[in-house]
């Protein structure tokens, strides 16, 4: 896996359609990013005073971080709950988590009005601000994930003495990662505690913090499942169906817990649920289509033990997490704003380019780093 590849582009053999599309998107994305930086937000996005937050906040930041929840979820399962059987899934989870957080950082860079001031929260503190806490946690957790990847890199180059040092302090990294993730995954939801009147009752909950945290666990587990299935196909490796069906059992359980939390919350707040309008449509799709349905699917052994079944269940669950973040940050304001918002071409292209870049980096990681090697796994 680590042999040198004498080609300017990653991928096997000749330039495939898939890679060609990725490169086109990357080039368009680069041009769009330059336009965004030099022309400003107003000229390149459809954001406005009525919609200060748009696609980049909903997808790159909120959804990206939630889907990157696999890093801390798998670390917790393996090191805290001692479920060693999931160990083969840890490294890919970390790689994808790292990419998710890079997406957050880069997405935020383009979204900020003054990106060159992205470091300000480091020295300018407002401990009252939830966003202040989120920015610190994300910075620290991205550092933890970078160290994780760094250790994997050290293994590739066989730096044993360094690896030993990191093995000795590894529990500190694991615990720090879990702590930071718990805090910022829930605090990203707590950002919306300040504006319940502007939001639709369907999502303006005082329990939005715990709900965000739980759905981040769902996002993480479903992405780890999808990642393992897809990379097994792409890199011609054996599918880890045994482990994945165990993980699917866990995912089903968390989905059930999340569904119960959502329903309890709606009932406790006395929200009018059975109405038909745009917001309710998205709400129904979210709650029934992407929480209840995958939970139900995963109840069946046949689904858990087939690649196709897991694709569907995990795919729906992951889509549900993304939909939830869009609903909280965009759909929720539909009844409140006179103006509607749809992202501009440049906003969409920059987001797609970040996904494409993530795929390229993931591919490089799979080729050059011992991501699926088990003999060098950090032991405890």
């Amino acid at each position: 896996m680590a042999e040198k590849i004498e080609k300017w582009y990653p991928g096997e053999g000749k330039l495939t359609t898939g890679w060609a599309i990725i490169y086109v998107i990357l080039v368009l994305g680069f041009v769009s990013a330059c336009a965004r930086l030099f022309l400003g937000l107003g000229a390149t996005t459809n954001l406005s005073d009525a919609y200060p937050w748009g696609l980049w906040v909903s997808f790159d930041i909120l959804a990206g971080v939630a889907l990157a929840g696999g890093g801390f979820t798998m670390a917790a399962a393996i090191y805290i709950f001692n479920l060693k059987k999931f160990e083969p899934l840890l490294r890919p989870a970390k790689l994808s988590a790292f990419l998710g957080y890079m997406m957050f950082v880069v997405g935020l860079f383009f979204d900020l009005g003054q990106p060159w001031r992205i470091w300000h929260p480091l020295v300018m503190w407002n401990p009252h601000s939830v966003l202040f806490e989120v920015s610190w946690c994300v910075m620290l957790y991205t550092t933890v994930l970078s160290l994780d990847l760094f250790i994997i890199g050290l293994e590739r180059y066989g730096k044993q003495s360094w690896i030993k040092f990191f093995r000795d302090i590894y529990l500190v990294l694991v615990v720090a990662g879990i702590m930071l993730s718990t805090l910022h995954q829930s605090s990203l939801g707590a950002l919306f505690l300040l504006m319940p009147q502007k939001m639709s009752d369907l999502w303006a909950s005082g329990a939005i913090g715990p709900l965000f945290f739980t759905s981040a666990v769902i996002g993480g587990m479903s992405v780890v499942t999808l990642e393992s299935l897809i990379s097994a196909r792409v890199y011609k490796r054996k599918q880890e169906l045994g482990i994945l069906s165990d993980l699917g059992k866990g995912l089903g359980l968390v989905l059930l817990v999340y569904f119960a939390m959502k329903v309890t919350d709606l009932y406790a707040r006395g929200v009018t649920v059975w109405v038909w309008d745009k917001a309710h449509f998205f709400f129904f799709v979210e709650l029934f289509g992407t929480v209840a349905l995958p939970a139900l699917l995963l109840c069946f052994k046949e689904v858990r033990q087939s690649a196709k079944g897991l694709y569907w269940a995990a795919g729906l669950a992951a889509f549900g997490v993304v939909l939830n973040r869009f609903n909280v940050s965009l759909t929720s304001y539909g009844g409140y704003r006179q103006i509607s918002y749809f992202p501009s071409f440049i906003e969409i292209i920059i987001t797609l380019a970040m996904v494409a870049l993530g795929i390229v980096i993931f591919d490089l990681g799979m080729k050059y780093l011992p991501i699926y090697k088990s003999e060098l796994t950090v032991e405890h």
Binding site: P52, I80, N82, M124, H128, S129, L131, I178, L193
Partner: protein, 271 residues
């Protein structure tokens, strides 16, 4: 002493001199006026427009039409949601009353715009180096003992600048003296924890149809920022609890696995 402005909308004639004075003092570009279905002009506040008059035509129960002119600007809350939201502390409430913004700190995240219950902070979208803009309560004028530009220019005495407790007293005196003229509630006295802009109106804001246009009446009397601060006050404990639990469970589960393995070993030895 915290300053405030009492805005007696029943005295306003809709001349918009305040809009002009605000633009002059703050050196804001003039906008292009366009026709629309309302007399309000411009249609929205923006980074270039810190105050505007909303024109409302409401018919009273006896069928008579009445004009209402409502001055819209930053409320300068006692406990502003924007200041609680801002991650870098660019927005602060001065003890003298104004909620002011530090150009040098802002990173442009726009969380203040999301958080403000009155939809006040506006962004310089057209700029490549954008900042947030809103009414400053003429903090610069107040520093040299001048009243805000809008107050100075108002020809009808709609705007009254002074110490907040005294203005509140005056507001309630007016309501008491002419109960038929005023809706018996001072908007800004208690809402969202109280604001430095106090509104006297002829009818309620619900009746004016402005609850969705920046004068919400469903905000309650607790400041919006409190929810974020309550959350933040729990963060250290959650961090400690999660960290402690993680370490504890790690060793407990490890030990359990070891004991389990040991038992199995013994069983095998016995067998």
């Amino acid at each position: 002493m915290s300053k405030a402005i009492l805005i007696d909308t029943t005295k306003c004639i809709g001349c918009r001199a305040c809009q002009v004075a605000c633009k002059s003092w703050n050196d804001l570009k003039g906008g292009k006026a366009t026709f629309s279905e309302t007399w309000s002009n411009p249609r929205y506040l923006s980074s270039n427009q810190f105050t505007r008059i909303i024109f409302r035509e409401i018919s009273s129960p006896d069928g008579q039409l009445h004009w209402h002119f409502i001055s819209r600007r930053c409320m300068h809350c006692h406990d502003p949601a924007c200041a609680s939201a801002c991650p870098v502390g660019a927005l602060i409430k001065m003890p003298e009353g104004p909620v002011v913004y530090d150009d040098g700190k802002c990173i442009g995240c726009r969380y203040c715009m999301m958080a403000c219950p009155f939809q006040i902070p506006k962004f310089q979208w057209e700029s490549a180096v954008p900042l947030v803009r809103k009414c400053t309560f003429c903090a610069d004028r107040q520093a040299i003992n001048l009243a805000p530009a809008c107050v100075t220019t108002c020809p009808t005495g709609t705007l009254l600048f002074g110490d907040r407790p005294e203005l509140l007293q005056e507001a309630h005196r007016r309501i008491g003296a002419q109960p038929g003229r005023y809706y018996p509630e001072v908007y800004g006295e208690k809402i969202a924890g109280g604001t430095s802009k106090l509104f006297l109106t002829a009818v309620s804001f619900e009746e004016l149809g402005l609850t969705q246009a920046g004068f919400r009446t469903d905000l309650g009397n607790t400041p919006q920022g409190l929810r974020g601060r309550e959350w933040m006050s729990k963060v250290p404990y959650v961090a400690l609890a999660v960290g402690g639990l993680a370490v504890g469970l790690h060793y407990m589960n490890k030990r359990r696995a070891e004991v389990h393995a040991g038992e199995r070993q013994e069983d095998e030895n016995d067998g």
